[in-house]
Amino acid sequence: MSSKIYDFSSLTGSIDAALNSWMSPGLAVLTELVIIGLVFLIFYALLGLFLVYLERKVCAVIQNRVGPNRVGKWGLLQTIADLIKLLMKELIPIRKADHLLFVLAPFIVIIASFMAMGAVPFAKGLHVLDFNIGVFYVMAVSSLGVVGILIAGWSSNSKYPLIGAMRSGAQIVSYELSVGLSLMAIVVFSGTMSLSGIIESQADGWWIFKGHIPAFIAFIVFLIASTAEINRGPFDLAEAESELTAGFHTEYSGIKFAFFFLAEYINMFIVAALGATVFLGGWMPFHIGNWEGFNQVMDYIPSIVWFFTKTFFIIYVIMWFKWTFPRLRIDQLLTLEWKFLLPISMFNILLIAFLVLMHWHF
Amino acid sequence: MLNKQELSEIILKMVPEATFPEGTQLTEVIVPAENILALAEGLKNNKETAFDYLISLTAVDFTTNMTVVYHLDSTQFRHLIVLKVVLNDRENPLVDSVSSVWATAEFHEREVFDLFGIRFNNHPNLKRLFLEDDYGFPLRKDFRDEINIIER
């Protein structure tokens, strides 16, 4: 059934073959690394710019405003103009700050998000790293970012950033558990940790549909916990602007601030992509049981479109959260995790294990 | 709600030296500086008066004297009274603080100290509120500031 979908591995394979025919295998691997690196850098930058633009437009529409509309058509170039502005701004050095760590912190944050991006399956066969422990890898790498945030807060030698960083640490350490457990639910269903394996297992239906209510609960828990993990509203305590002015990046300026800003949006994309892959079938088209005609029409839509549609749907939901809810307090944040999300997801995973044991799922 | 007659009787029992000017908009009482704290406590704790709410505490510089003015209200009976303390020493005016009676007086007294230079005995934290430490006392009538204030 999925054979009709265009497989990007034929394209990447032909590039690989062509490179190997031109140069030695070692050099070919090196060239491929460079190409992938360049493609990702460009994709990363464009995606970040687009997400910032999208967020502004979405919140503007929600708030009865127009949003950016001055630079370019519909303000499309606004974020590029902002980027140029940030590039030209002075990088203010902080006296008595730990300079090495102060400079290092934004890079840690951005590298963490960059690494996580490598495991995201964008379309059929379009996959940089297809680990057999893909879910585990993405979770491990994406939580590296908190190290950067903690370092940023601590090395700034300032009071607001320190509070912000400590909040962020407490927050991510707790919410990591719920994210892990909710992803584990689907791992139990599909029996594999490989992201491509999870997608293949959804060929006859996405897990959110065929996983009964437990999968849906896992999806909701994942949505809430991952919103918290990427420090976005209503869980943006680390940079709560009405309390801590700008939280952990108060002392950063210019492009170093832009790195934090960009990493936040890329993290949102990664979380949404992971959610789309695990719960909504990744690049798998929407299929309904035995409706052959309908399923075929769905197959004609390229897999990359499916992937991005689902991802941006989740991104929209996350934005919707941010622009609706007030911010939680730090103790309520931890209460929500330890009293509600964690027990629910633990019970949920037991239920799922039982379902799978009894072969009650499709 | 007590009228002026009843109020004056109660006050005269507490402070026999108090005087009551005629023809004023509100009931006014002029008391000597040394009696103000006792009178404040009395007026607040007396069940009939129950002046528990200090609307405002301010001062007026009459060039011959400084007058500290207390506007009191009762949240129970809603009657108003104005207490006045006349301080004849303009150079070093001193009066007892009533911040132990009404908590809000602490900050009103700081404001008065800031703008008039009237000092309050037993005030917990008598620092300037708005202005810098070396600025004069701007609401005194003899205050002059050639740099910042344009006279008309």
Partner: protein, 160 residues
């Protein structure tokens, strides 16, 4: 058992209250309705301020370049901020008598708070509020304006 049912009812109430909020924002996302943002420089042509809008103080002149200001100085006295200065001159009129006319009616826009006392108290209604609101300039001295136009004179009929 009671605490468990309370746990779940709290959970349900919480989620439904969150959903109520999301419905409001979601409704505006789907149909934003009235957009309140003013597209300012673009709508400059159609932008009409209210007739009573206090943009600046002006001195209306008629087609003969005549105004109604006698130079009495009441606006200057009434201005709380000293933003009006009147420089008067004495010139002989037709009868040969010296008569007071304004030389310059100076208005410091930078000091004006638009309280409206000058317009209200002017005995000959020589002042009015203008609708101009784009006052940003690079040089502060440009905010000092002379209200009477050069070569203007007093409108005689206005005096009754």
């Amino acid at each position: 058992m009671n605490s468990i049912s309370k746990y779940f009812s709290d959970l349900f109430k919480g989620i439904s209250s969150l959903w109520a909020g999301m419905r409001v924002t979601g409704k505006y996302f789907v149909s934003p309705g009235q957009i309140v943002t003013q597209q300012y420089p673009e709508n400059r042509a159609t932008l009409k301020m209210e007739p009573r809008f206090k943009g600046e103080i002006i001195m209306p002149h008629d087609e003969n370049n005549q105004h109604a200001c006698t130079g009495c100085g009441i606006c200057e006295i009434n201005c709380p901020n000293g933003s009006i200065e009147i420089i008067t001159d004495r010139v002989p009129n037709a009868d040969g008598k010296l008569e007071r006319v304004i030389d310059k009616h100076i208005f410091h826009l930078s000091m004006c708070t638009f309280c409206g006392l000058c317009v209200k108290t002017c005995p000959s209604d020589a002042l009015a509020f203008g609708q101009e609101f784009e006052h940003a300039v690079f040089d502060r001295h440009k905010l000092t304006k002379v209200l009477n136009q050069p070569g203007s004179s007093l409108k005689k009929e206005a005096k009754k």
